[in-house]
Amino acid sequence: MTSYRRMIQILTQVLLFCGVLGVTVLLLFPAIVAFGTSFKPMGEIFTQTPTIFPHEPTLAAYKKIFCMPEFPRFLLNSFIISGLTALIVIIAALLAAYTLTFTRFPGKKFIRQMILMTYMFPAVTLVIPLYFFAHRLDLLDSYQILIFADLSFALPIAVWLMAGYFEKFPLELVKAARVDGCNPLQIIRHIIIPVMKPGITAAGIFSFILAWSEYLFSLTLTLTDESRTISAGMHYCLMGNYRTDYGLLTAASTIIVIPVVILFALLQKFIVGGLTEGSLK
């Protein structure tokens, strides 16, 4: 009887595993195909009978990308803009989330809701005046305006996420530190950050990824390759001169996506964990 039940259990496990595997492969099929194609020579890309993986793998497409003058520039721009955005977001959101969680003051609920509400602002609505401001202040085609624009979506979500994590933090600890005469900055530095590091990191990574992927602002607020991020860069290259160069497309996609995926995979535990409970275990 027990062995029969055990058999059923194992069988369910195996079926479940195969199900998850199947769903994952199916969902990732486009990415798998793109990854495989990035290593194909021209002849294998432009064929009526495409395969998933190349017969004769080559790095030709990658070499071509790094010989293009624009592409490394786009990568650097994206890296600087996303990094600075994440940095500003972490600092501002840390202070705001602390205040919104651990202090009492009139209008707190209103501010919390306002920050939540800003999440519904459409980028299309914001980009119109941002374009004219940038034009007037001579900031079109600069890092500053793109970082500024990216803050519009990265900061509210980070504040919201961090405030959520902080709610799991025992208020008594903060109160005890206050009684001991710690100011908020000391409390944040010595109590909140050590305990809530995964949640804070997750919020920072989240902002980085959002800024890294940003498309509309970069498309609109840049004029030349000088400050263009990868999104707008790829838009102009791959919908323009290199329109049908699928080797270039898939190789560029791989280069852009791989670092983010690795970063994310390493921190994924903290992001899911950070969303649930502030790691206080």
Partner: protein, 305 residues
């Protein structure tokens, strides 16, 4: 007496601190929110009441004329209709797929962490990558989709997914769901993990089977998560722009024109900033109304501490 005076003075000393400190700590966030969100949104609403164009720096106030033109423009109503249908269809699919995958990777299976990471990949991919990748997959000569469909015997001639009016919506919604479901999955995973295992243990003791447990524990505990995901999906999908712009730019003709692409086209391609701003304001107001309804509903109030 002495004690009474002491508490009084402490209260007085504390009171201004209670205002000042939150103000100082919130200042960076509030200033940024004002400069990059509230002020630009107000400007767009203001522009929508003017005859501003891309080139002219001088423009005049024309009241609600842009709106009266808008409301008699069939193109606007068509885009509005498209936006609503797109929101409902893509949003529902996102929640379905996100919820399904969350349930799958919440089970105890080997390599669960790896599967979670893998399933999140589409979400970390920049929209431009997703958009260009699907453009290529849809290609009639070298695309995988047509190849697979022809070899499966489902079609005889390749489908021009981005040109064929019958298929273009499918071609836009497919990648949209592809990039958005992991976010929903992440939210549901978080909610699933916050359900106390004691509930399931108690249910097992009471002899409830897996389906009953799902129906009577999992679903009720996820009510909040469904509401939140529902709201977020309405917001994300109604304002979505990137994928449609990369894939079709609203075409063929205006078959996939959304309010967001219509606004962008008027401001940055048609140069009629005032008119485009009016469209952008409509998107904003619709989302504002949705958010107000949600915030005013008792469900969220119970969530507030």
């Amino acid at each position: 007496m002495q004690i009474l005076i002491d508490t009084d003075s402490r209260k007085r000393r504390k009171a201004p601190g209670l205002f000042l400190l939150p103000g100082a700590l919130l200042a960076p966030t509030l200033i940024i929110v004002f400069v990059v969100l509230l002020y630009p949104a107000a400007c767009t609403i203001f522009f929508s009441l003017t005859d501003k164009t891309m080139a002219d720096t001088t423009y005049s106030f024309i009241g609600l004329k842009n709106y009266s033109n808008l409301f008699s423009d069939p193109k606007f109503w068509m885009a509005f209709q498209h936006s609503i249908i797109f929101t409902l269809v893509a949003g529902s699919l996102n929640i379905l797929l996100g919820f399904g995958t969350a349930l799958l990777v919440n089970r105890a299976i080997p390599f669960r962490g790896l599967f979670r990471s893998l399933l999140l990949i589409p979400w970390v991919m920049p929209h431009i990558v997703t958009g260009l990748m699907f453009r290529w997959l849809y290609n009639d000569f070298y695309g995988y989709l047509n190849y697979l469909l022809i070899h499966a015997g489902l079609i005889e001639k390749p489908i021009l997914f981005l040109v064929d009016r019958a298929f273009v919506w499918l071609a836009v919604i497919l990648p949209t769901v592809w990039y958005e479901y992991p976010f929903v999955m992440l939210m549901f995973l978080a909610a699933l993990q916050s359900i106390s295992p004691d509930l399931y243990r108690a249910a097992k003791v009471d002899g409830a089977n897996a389906f009953q447990q799902f129906l009577h524990i999992t679903l009720p505990c996820l009510k909040q998560a469904f509401l939140l995901n529902g709201l977020l999906q309405i917001i994300f999908m109604f304002k979505s722009f990137n994928l449609v712009w990369i894939l079709t730019q609203g075409g063929p003709g205006d078959r996939t024109e959304l309010l967001s692409t219509l606004a962008y086209r008027h401001v940055f391609e048609g140069f009629s900033t005032g008119y485009g701003s009016a469209v952008a304001t409509v998107i904003f107001l619709v989302l504002f109304a949705v958010s107000i309804v949600y915030l005013a509903s008792p469900a969220i109030r119970s969530e507030e501490p």
